[in-house]
């Protein structure tokens, strides 16, 4: 972990640790669900299951990025949170407009309603957290 300049607060302590915990929970939930779906019934809804897999991967990488803090970690987390936000909104809209596209539920279907809309809130909190812990330009 590289320390560059005085950070106001590292992304992996305080509220950040709570954020990481929730990201970890989602990483576990999404990974096991996607793994199971891809392993047992991939042909039923390949798009939905691949998407679940991608979402799972993003949750894992985001958790690692936040946990490692530092410069690279922050960039990785920023990218993940952005992709997540775009993903959950896009898939949310698509799953409402064209139900055939996602015949089976994914983490992001209907803006993550199956997971208490946490998938929608999580990237926003992540981006807010990254913003609030940003470093003053050296």
């Amino acid at each position: 972990m590289v320390e560059t300049g005085p950070a106001r607060q590292r992304t992996n302590s305080g509220p950040g640790r709570l954020l990481i915990a929730v990201y970890l929970l989602f990483a576990i939930a999404a990974t096991s669900r996607a793994g199971l779906q891809i392993a047992t019934k991939f042909d039923e809804a390949p798009v939905a299951y691949l998407l679940s897999g991608v979402a799972a991967l993003i949750y894992i990488v985001a958790a690692v990025g936040l946990a490692r803090a530092g410069h690279t970690g922050r960039r990785v987390a920023l990218a993940c949170c952005s992709v997540e936000l775009v993903g959950v909104v896009a898939v949310g809209i698509l799953s409402l407009v064209d139900k055939d596209l996602f015949p089976d539920e994914t983490v992001w279907s209907q803006f993550g309603s199956g997971y208490g809309y946490i998938p929608l809130v999580l990237p926003v909190l992540g981006l807010i957290w990254l913003w609030r812990t940003r470093q003053a330009p050296a």
Binding site: S13, I20, A21, L25, I28, R33
Partner: protein, 133 residues
Amino acid sequence: MVPVTSVGADSPVDGIVATVPIVLSLLVAVWALVAAVRHRPPDRVQFVGLAVLEVALLVLSVLALVAVGGGDRPGEPGAFFGYLVTLVCLPPLAWVLARMEPTRWGSAIVCAVCLVAPVVVVRLQQTWEVLGG
């Protein structure tokens, strides 16, 4: 021992074995939430609560495994065991993270995990009871 499989398809993850961890988990969640709101780090009650919760979840798991050993089968075996493994890992996860974060946010972590655990218990019950499994 006569397994009751014909009538009502008795689920091993139903009734008191499931109710105890759910109630316990919610109690710890409320306690941890109060601590977080009061800017308190995770206290003894939270750690003891997590330990007792883990014991309750292990009892639940053992009963489920005994039922599986006795010939009963969950409706969705893959998902059922996935949830079961996840479930017993939750209190240790909360414990470790809460130890790393001795601030109000540690309490918030305990609260969050203890809100997730009951959901997983309910999902566990659903994956056992899928019809035609």
